[in-house]
């Protein structure tokens, strides 16, 4: 049953050093506020899982939270590289980062399988790709009906799943609207889930088949206004494309990044 907590308390209660942590939001609704809170609380040795690491994981990796990364596309969308991610992979700074690299299709299926309580996902994937050669998590099975060779990847079943959503009602039911990505899957696949929301409302006013995650499937809800900034929240605020572009400059340089982190995360209290 969802408990309403401050973001600080939600992170403190559920995110432990060494945890496996999925933070989703496909370009839309990226839980930046929660990521910053994890950096502030100094979590270490995390296995981070996200299809598109995006700036949020670039920041967390740069801040030294991560030991392992499971992902499928690691760029700054429309801009270029994630320099903190690259620095960790290429130079081991601030610490080495082990990567498990997938395709989007495989990771989407792995989240789906995690939500479905299965140990594996099966897909027609990785045909002819070198990825299976470098990622030991990718295997192949034979269909017992047709003999077709299909790819199999382990389901994503993280210790903690964190997503951001537009709103929760007072019972803790959450509405996600727009680009819904794998938000529902992360919450359902995780052992513990935290959902940050823009606001708490009396009525969700959702359609009959809207993407509503019931409160009893969520552990903690924390209000985080602008909690997806600089990504966006459909119906609330647009993406700050300028920040995504500016990030290239900030993240390229270790010191510029450290200064940014100091000012905008460590000294930003509980704000995003």
């Amino acid at each position: 049953m969802a408990e309403f907590l401050s973001l600080h308390d939600a992170v403190a209660r559920y995110v432990e050093d060494g945890a496996t942590l999925a933070m989703e939001g496909f370009t839309h609704l990226i839980p930046f506020a929660a990521g910053h809170e994890i950096i502030r609380q100094g979590r270490r040795e995390l296995t981070l899982i996200r299809m598109t690491p995006d700036l949020i994981f670039d920041q967390m990796i740069g801040a030294g939270c991560a030991r392992r990364l499971i992902f499928s596309w690691g760029g700054n969308p429309g801009v270029g590289s994630l320099h903190r991610l690259r620095d960790a992979v290429e130079k081991g700074y601030p610490q080495p980062l082990e990567i498990f690299e997938h395709s989007h299709a495989a990771m989407a299926c792995a989240f789906e399988a995690g939500a479905a309580g299965l140990p594996l996902a099966v897909l027609r994937g990785y045909v002819g790709s070198d990825l299976p050669k470098v990622n030991s998590q990718i295997k192949f099975i034979e269909c017992p009906f047709t003999g077709e060779r299909l790819a199999a990847v382990p389901a994503v079943r993280p210790d903690v799943g964190i997503v951001h959503a537009q709103k929760a009602d007072r019972a803790g039911n959450v509405l996600v609207e727009g680009i819904i990505g794998v938000q529902k899957e992360v919450v359902l696949a995780a052992r513990h889930s935290i959902v940050t929301v823009e606001e708490v409302v009396d009525e969700l006013q959702a359609g009959p088949n809207a993407c509503v995650i019931p409160g009893w499937a969520i552990d903690a809800i924390a209000v985080a206004e602008q909690g997806a900034y600089p990504s966006y929240a459909h119906g609330y605020y647009p993406r700050d494309n300028a920040f995504y572009k500016a990030w290239d400059e900030i993240a390229r340089d270790r010191e510029a990044f450290a200064a940014w982190l100091e000012e905008h995360v460590y000294h930003a209290g509980g704000a995003a």
């Binding site: 690691g74 760029g75 429309g78 897909l123 990785y126 070198d130 300028a242």
Partner: protein, 263 residues
Amino acid sequence: MSLDYTAAEMMTVTAARALANGTTCFVGIGLPSEAANLARLTHAPEVVLIYESGTLQTKPNVLPLSIGDGELCETALTTVSVPEMFRYWLQGGHVDVGFLGTAQIDRYCNLNTTLIGDYREPKVRLPGGGGAPEIATNAGEVFITVKHSRRTFVEAVDFVTTVGFGRDGRARDGVPNIGRGPTRVITDLCVMKPDPETKELVVVSLHPGVTAEQVQEATGWEIRFAERLETTPEPGAEELNVLRELKARTARHHAGNETGAQA
């Protein structure tokens, strides 16, 4: 009388023309997205554009900066989850054309967007596969559009992120339930198609004013040319207008919300 246009415009217009009206196209970000939307705004109003963010049949008024821009959802027929997108729509066989860009490509259309150098000791780490590995095999066919240079067109890709026809051109042979693979590559210099037998890329059309030597110069292997080498038709005035307006609109839009204050 010839219009004034850039090589980049020539590439985009040519790539756009490749998309027939009514086609269902899974669109990669960047050049493919530009071409696919130009097609939609010119000769192919009924082209169906799908982005991996789950946005089905989207009609963005400006080009998205990312694969999941709000514009894509707001103008979509409907938006589904990402697992549904990859499982039902792509793997389920509802995509005619996958439209991709790349960082490296070889003579058998294998694409590398993973890294330069060795996987464990990369010289340059690139973003990775994203949707491409399965777009390339689950779409009916694949179009590739990319700028022509020796850095991109290489003898051997450092990593096969996304299969074209494999290192030997035979990777699709006998594999059931996959698409035809790449059927054309459109650059700022020319159009290439795989040889029906060997699957090796063959230049079939040079853009106006481009020479075979220029193409060879920009290609990291000894590239083949078709016996009947054609000249790519020039862009039309309307195509150029629509493209330039689209790009101007896009620039204004993305500048428009450059508040950046909180950064």
